[in-house]
Structures are given as C-alpha cells and as structure tokens.
C-alpha cells in the first residue's frame, strides 16, 4: 500500500492539471480557431455597430492589394514605378482606399490606371478639384482613381468601381535623388505606414467639417486635423501578413562598385553587361511590413568629386550639382567642450526590437563622452523624464549611472514628443556653460502625426544647438528624421537592426566629433543664377556632399563655392562647361522648391499665398503635392445604377518587430482573482485529501 501512495499523488496532480487545463480550454480554443469564435460572438450581441471598427464594418471582403515596384537607378537619380493591383474578391462593387508610404523626397509625377489592355493617363489637378472629379466619376459608376499626398511620405490611392473579380492596376511613378554619404550610396523604399501617435483632443465632426475625413483608426484632433487620413487600419499580427510586394531594381551606378547589399532584405543580384546590375528580393513571398534599403559602395578611386547635369524646360535652364568637399576624416576632431543631450523615445511603438536597438546605440554614444563634456539623458512616452535636471559633467561614475538608467528603460504609452523636444532645446542659463557646442541626439521611430508642430518648435528654439536624428526600427518616419535634422541643422541616420548599430553609430560619431563645413555660399563668375536650392544651404558634416539645384536663364561657365571649415575659410571653383544634359533635372528642382515653400509654411499662420505658389508650381511640373493630386477617370460607366458601391479602407501590416498590444492595447479587464481562488482551493483540498489518506494508511 505504501508503494501506491506516490502513484496516487501523481494521479491527483494529473487530474488537477487537466482540470485547470479544461478551465483554460475555452479561451485557448477561441484563440486558435476562427470559426467557433464567430459562433460565440454571434450568440450574444443584439446587433448594431459599436466601436469604430478598424476592419471595416461590412462583412463583405475588402479588395486585395498586390504591389510591384520597378526601379531604375542611373547614377544619382532613381525613377520608380509602384504598381498597385486592386482585386475585388467579393460579389459586390468596391471602392478601395489604400494609405501607403513613399520615400520622403519622392517627386510623384505620373499616374496610370490600367483596366485589362486599356490605359488611362492621370491628370494633375488642384486637390479639391481632383476630389470632385473623382467623386463625380465614382457616383456615375465610372472607374476612377485618385492619388493624394497626406505628408511628403504618406500618400492615399482611392480606386472606385472595382468590379467583382476584375482587377484594376494603378501605376504611380516618381523620381528621387539617391543619398550619398560617407562613401556609400543608399536608397530607402518604405513599404508600410507605421502607426502614428495622434496627440490632442478629438474634434467634433460638426465643427470639423472643413478637415479632411479618412477611414483611419484615429479621429481628427485639434493637433492633428487630418489624423483619420494618416492612420490606415492595421491587421492584427495573429491574422498573418497581407499586401505582398515584389521589387525589381535596375542599377546603373555609373562607376565601378566594390559592393552592393541590403541590410533589410535578402536580395538576388545579377550582374549585367556594361557595369549594371539587377536586384530583386530573394524571398518571393515578401510582404509590406518594413522599409527596404539598398546600399552600394564604389571602389575608392572611383568616388566622384563632382556630378553636374542640366536640362532645358520651357525656356529655363535647370542644373543639378553634387560635389564632394575635401574629406575631413584626416582633419582634427573638435576640441571645444560639448554639451550632449540624448533623447530616447520609450513609447509603445518602440517596444521590442526597436528599444533594444536604441539602447545599444545610446550606450555606445555615452561611451564616447569625455570628462570635459557635459550630458543629460531624457526619455519620453506619455510623459517626459530626464536623468538630471540640467546637464552634468560626464565623469566616469555619471556615465555609469546613465548606463544603468538606460538599461532600466521600458517602452509603453503614447508619444508626446513636444515636451521632450522642448526640454532638450532648453539652453543652460549659465553663460560659461552656454559656450559649449550643444548637440541633441534624438533616437525615435518618429511615428507621430504632429510633425509640423515639432518642426516649428525646432526652428524657433534652435539657436546654437544642433539636432541629430537617429531613426530606429523597421519602419521609421523618414519625413520626420530628415526634416527635424534639417531644421535642427544637424543630420539624420538610420539604425534598422542591432547588427547595424556599431557601424551606423560610428558614422554618426565622425559627424559629431569633426568640424562641419559651414556658411556655404555659391557665386557665379559670369552670370547670375536666379535661384539656388536648398535655401539657405545646409551645413555639411563629415562625408556629406553638397547637393544643389539651380534655376537660371543662362548657364554660367563656372561657380565659386565658399565656406568655413572648423573656423578656417574654404573655397573651391567648379566648372559647369561639362554639364551633361539629362531628363528629370527640372522636376528635381520643382520638388525641392515645393519642399522649401512647405518649410516656410511651418512658421506661418496664413498659408494662402504659399499655397497658391505651390499649386502653380506643381501644376506646371505635373507634381503631386499637399495641394495637388493626380486623378484618372475612365469615360464609360460600368457599374449599374441599381448596384451599390462599398467603400473599404485597406488594411496594412503592423511594422516588423512592433507589438500590437503596446500600441492598440485594449485595457486588461479581468483580474486573476478567480484563477487564484480556484487553484488555491484545489491545492487546499488536495492537501486535505492527501493528509487524510496518509493518516488512514500511516
């Protein structure tokens, strides 16, 4: 009998665990199978629509999207066609609305709607007019499409009257200039709009009729009046990935290469004749859930010193110049004491991999400080918190303290960026301290909807501080990274994975610790240049080229560029006689000009004048802007009047590495009390039964 007791105990344990297992079973079943859930959901409700459903209120399947990207890079300029195929799997007529990203400097100048063999070319119109054209065609049952710009890097495609099982292909074409920095060329293609944090109070729909309404998950607020247009519904990660994407790049770098790589995706590389390459994604089932990046490195002796291109357009001459100033890596590092303010975003969207990357990068940056520097560390989510009230000397023990503080940071809550940025920009009142070189290193995914307010703050409060943005994660907001750095007179960098941290941060340290080329001016010797962009010319950090666009009547033979390098004057003369003629230079200038006008707008309340200048320019160059859209309409109505049209906001993936719960979490509305009570009681019963048995037999 003695020998049977352990067996009895084991048996009871098994019974107990299976009982607990049984109790958990309903929730487990609900999680793993879809059908029973819908049944259980169906029983209780008495109908009616509840919360704003991100998934669309109607049970009719939404259109499916399939994207193919074809890129041709020749030298410094890339032309890309994004082909979006909308297919309608339902039995009803559909309108699909898809919010998607493009590179933040993309000059979108073509739209084509393809229905079978038929191709309809899109027209550029003022945004309100284009909307009307589209709405009219939509109501008449004609196939129509509309491409609008919400942010320089967020666009919306609307496609009306997609027939059941008859796909419509929308082709969007844009041009951009590739980035050249520290000896490498690179190009980023964003694939998904990461969920933006929307600050402010929701606006009343009645009071708010002037603001654009979208199909997004966020209501428009006083701080982000178009929030509903930049927050596309998100597919829950447990439902699998959607929106397959294919990528084909023809790369003609115009020089011999040492290396081509993509830190974000595995690629297939085919070398073609005459020094050109074909790049495609290795994985045939790739989905739009992270940025794609391609990096190509020329052989060191091949690195160009200057590239000059020109184009004649409607009686004007446009010129593009990229010039390498003498590399300053051989020059001395900065010797003036610095005040470095580190800012780290610890909002919910930074959860998981992103925070790990940001911590690694920041930790590395902390270790670069010297005792003559001062520093502070600020974290922000819904609230802002700083390690010290004001910057402190970077002594060994303080660095150690900062490293410990950094280690303990967790990602949760909202992205209230304004207070954090304001605190970082606050200068020390001590006049001696204010002589220091002030640098802010801002680590964030930039996933906010109130970019303009942030830019305005930087512009207003910058003074002698310099702002360097570090874009973290798989789908950072590139527009924020570039523009915040531009207004902050610093530079931007991206850290997309933990393996990249070391290299990317080292490149940033070169920029932070070497003197920049400042006060740059350009003069022509023999004729006047009507306009030089960007205006003012930015400071250049270690490894950055000077990239400018000119508009002029007659082409000067040469120009003189002057500046200051570490306080000493610097000058160079560039001949323009050899400028090669090529297409796209006028469009590049126009896109730069629109960006400049938009920048001026961040500080102005009254934007009517700027708006009109942008519209004129965009219409002339066939460009999509905040105020102009491309619209394509098929003349023949296809949808019978009697049949309704269902509008669907297309879902997007959650960016790779993000956690749904950290961003869209519903409150946890059950306590473990019952589980505690049940398991506790079982344990007591078990002890009681067991001791009884023991007494009986013992």
């Amino acid at each position: 009998m003695n020998s049977r007791r352990p067996h009895a105990f084991l048996l009871m344990c098994c019974m107990m665990s299976s009982w607990i297992g049984g109790l958990t079973l309903p929730s487990v079943a609900a999680q793993t199978t879809q059908e029973p859930r819908q049944e259980s959901v169906g029983k209780k409700p008495k109908g009616g629509v509840l919360l704003k459903t991100a998934t669309g209120k109607n049970p009719i399947s939404a259109p499916l999207l399939n994207t193919t990207v074809t890129m041709t890079i020749s030298g410094l300029i890339a032309r890309t066609t994004v082909s979006q195929e909308f297919s309608n799997p339902s039995e009803e007529w559909a309108e699909g609305v898809y919010v998607f990203p493009l590179p933040n400097q993309a000059a979108v100048d073509h739209l084509r709607m393809k229905i079978g063999e038929q191709i309809i070319e899109g027209q550029i119109q003022e945004r309100a007019q284009a909307k009307k054209t589209y709405a009219k065609a939509k109501a008449k049952g004609q196939r129509a499409s509309l491409v609008e710009q919400e942010r320089p890097n967020i666009f919306t495609t609307s496609v009306a009257n997609i027939a059941p099982n008859a796909p419509i292909i929308i082709e969007i074409e844009y041009q951009e200039v590739v980035r050249y920095d520290q000896g490498q060329f690179s190009l980023r293609f964003p694939m998904v709009v990461g969920p933006r944090y929307i600050p402010g109070q929701p606006q009343d729909i009645e009071e708010d009729s002037s603001s654009p309404q979208g199909l997004g998950w966020a209501p428009n607020t006083d701080q982000v009046p178009d929030a509903s247009r930049i927050t596309p519904p998100v597919q829950h990660p447990s439902r699998g990935l959607i929106n397959p994407i294919a990528l084909h790049i023809d790369l003609a770098p115009g020089m011999l290469l040492q290396n081509i790589e993509s830190p974000t995706h595995p690629i297939t590389l085919t070398k073609q004749e005459t020094n050109s390459y074909h790049v495609s994604l290795q994985d045939v089932s790739t989905y739009a859930e992270r940025d794609f990046e391609l990096i190509w490195t020329p052989l060191s002796h091949e690195t160009p010193q200057a590239s000059v291109f020109t184009e004649q357009h409607e009686g004007e001459t446009f010129l593009f110049l990229q010039l390498m100033p003498p590399t300053s890596s051989d020059s001395k590092t900065i010797t003036i004491p610095r005040e470095v303010v580190f800012v780290i975003d610890t909002s919910g969207s930074m959860g998981g991999k992103s925070l790990t990357q940001a911590k690694a990068a920041l930790s590395l940056a902390l270790s670069r400080l010297t005792p003559q520097d001062t520093f502070n560390l600020i974290q922000f989510n819904s609230v802002t918190h700083s390690l010290y009230p004001i910057a402190r000397q970077a002594s060994g023990s303080r660095i150690h303290e900062a490293q410990r503080y950094l280690k303990g940071l967790q990602a949760t809550g909202g992205t209230e960026m304004l207070p954090a940025l304001r605190q970082a920009l606050t200068r020390p009142s001590d006049s001696e301290e204010s002589l220091r070189l002030r640098q802010i290193i801002f680590m964030t995914d930039g996933l906010v909807g109130n970019e303009e307010a942030l830019f305005a703050l930087v512009q207003r409060e910058l003074a002698n501080t310099r702002l360097f943005t570090v874009g973290i994660g798989s789908a950072p907001n590139g527009h924020f990274m570039r523009k915040a750095a531009q207004f902050g007179k610093g530079t931007f960098t991206y850290v997309g994975s933990t393996t990249e941290v070391q290299e990317k941060m080292n490149n940033l340290f070169l920029k932070l610790e070497h003197p920049a080329l400042t006060d740059i001016t350009i003069q022509s010797v023999d004729s006047t240049i009507a306009e030089i962009l960007p205006d003012p010319l930015p400071d250049l950090y270690n490894g950055e080229p000077l990239t400018v666009a000119f508009r002029t009547t007659t082409l000067p033979t040469s120009i003189t560029i002057t500046g200051k390098h570490g306080g000493r004057p610097w000058e160079t003369t560039q001949s323009l006689i050899d400028a090669k003629s090529r297409g796209g230079i006028a469009v590049h200038w126009a896109r730069q000009k629109i960006a400049q006008l938009m920048d001026q707008g961040t500080q102005k309340k009254d934007k009517t004048l700027l708006r009109q200048s942008i519209i004129d320019l965009a219409l002339k160059h066939h460009l999509v802007s905040r105020y102009t859209s491309l619209v394509a309409v098929d003349v023949t109505p296809v949808r019978p009047e009697a049949q309704p049209l269902h509008t669907h906001g297309l879902k997007t993936n959650l960016p790779n590495g993000m956690k749904q719960e950290a961003i869209f979490g519903w409150p946890q509305t059950a306590t473990p009390a019952t589980a505690y009570l049940v398991i506790g009681s079982m344990l007591l019963c078990l002890t009681w039964i067991w001791s009884r048995r023991h007494h009986a037999h013992g």
Binding site: N2, R5, L23, T24, P26, S27, A30, Q31, R37, S40, V41, K44, P45, K46, G47, G48, L50, L51, K52, T53, A54, T55, G200, Q201, P202, D204, I205, A218, P219, T221, P233, V234, H236, S238, R239, Q660, F664, W666, P667, Q668, T669, A670, T671, P672, A673, T674, A675, Y676, L677, I679, G680, S681, M682, L683, L684, L686, T687, W690, H694, G698
Partner: protein
C-alpha cells in the same frame, strides 16, 4: 529477502513520512497564499471604491483633481450609477492595470461635460467592478455624474461581444455615446482572453437632469447633512 525488507522499512517510512509532511505543508501554504491573493484583489476593489467616493465629493467641491490616497497615480473623474441594479461606482482618469484594480477607468481621451458631440468609453474588470455589466439590458438607464456636477442619463442601446484582435479601440466619431467595456466571457477562470463585452448607451433627456430635483447631487446631500 522479505526479512531484509522488514528490517529496512521503518527508517525509510520515517523519511517518507517527513517528506510527505513537507510537501503537504508547502501545498497548504501555496494554496492559502493564492486564496489570500484572490481575496486581496476583491478586498482592494471594494475598499478603494469607498475611499474614491470620498475623493469624488472633494473633487466636486474643489473642482480640482483629488488623489484618493497620497501615493495614488490616478484620480476620480466621474460617477456611474445604475438605478435598476443599485450600482454606484467612481470612475478613474485612466484605464491602466494599476488603476483598474481600484475602479472602472476612462479609456483614451474621451471627455464628457454634457455636449451631444462628446463620447466616453469606460472599462472595468469583469470579475470586480464591472461584473454588473452582464446584467445590463437594452433600455436600462445609466446615470453619469460629470466633473461639473451634472447628471446625464444614458439608455442602453445594445450589447455585443467583440474580438479585441479584430477591432481597434479608438475614440468614437459619433457623439453622445457611453460605452462600457469589460472582458468576456464573464465566467472564464483565467484572464487575458481576446474577447470583450461592449455595452453601448445613448445620451437621453440631457436637459432634464441638468438641475437635479429628484436625485440630489452628493454635493447637495452633503450640505443637507451638514
């Protein structure tokens, strides 16, 4: 061999006897601790509401956020009563895990001062404060006292179960709505499932209760008492 067995059995039994008692007391201890934890959650939920009612009275008088206890991270922003069920609960400013232990919380940025255009989402634990939600029926009247001391009546329009993985929780675009959210199913033992039970109520007869006659506000009741 049986002899050998007889000789060696007594010490082995003693050891086993000890082992059994150690394991039994461990199990007993663990069981009691778990029951204590479970009871503590309920005790906290009830006691906190008592303190919160006091803080709410002060809030109405001072028109300032009042912390119910010195180390609290949250404060009362409203009072919810369901006359038919005799429910009377103080609503907290947020719906974080810490706050929901003490009372139902306001979700997101919704506010309610009494305008038709505003909406409010409240959430609470299905097994403590919001266990009454399962008894709500269409037509039931929910009464909400705002920070301004106004009483607003809502009537339940519908109830439904939603999947939190399918539906995004966001402030409602439609005004004049009060929604109560809690976990579902109500009798599940383990927390953390994806389903939520949502009760939607619509603002009714707003003007009627602006100057309370039949239902004295706690403020008036207090004055009368004093």
């Amino acid at each position: 061999m049986p002899d050998m067995d007889l000789v060696t059995t007594p010490p082995r039994t003693r050891v086993r006897h000890h082992m059994v008692w150690i394991v039994a007391s461990l199990l007993f201890g663990l069981g009691s601790w778990l029951i204590g934890q479970g009871a503590w959650i309920h005790l906290k939920a009830v006691t906190a509401q008592w303190l919160l009612h006091q803080a709410w009275q002060e809030t109405l008088t001072s028109q300032q956020p009042v912390k119910p206890w010195a180390w609290a991270d949250t404060w009362p922003v409203g009072k919810l009563t369901i006359p038919r069920l005799g429910t009377n609960q103080i609503i907290l400013a947020d719906a974080s895990g810490q706050s929901l232990a003490f009372g139902p919380g306001k979700v997101g940025k919704g506010k309610f001062s009494g305008k038709d255009s505003e909406s409010l989402i409240l959430s609470g634990h299905r097994d403590t404060h919001f266990s009454f939600v399962q008894d709500l029926q269409v037509g039931d009247v929910l009464t909400l006292q705002t920070l301004q001391g106004n009483w607003l009546n809502f009537s339940v329009e519908n109830t439904a179960v939603v999947d939190s993985q399918e539906v995004t929780l966001t402030s409602n675009h439609e005004g004049g709505m009060l929604q109560l959210i809690t976990c579902y199913p109500f009798d599940a033992v383990l927390p953390g499932g994806p389903l939520r039970y949502v009760v939607t109520a619509k603002l009714a007869a707003r003007k009627l209760s602006l100057k309370p006659r039949l239902l004295p506000t706690p403020l008036e009741a207090q004055e009368e008492g004093a």
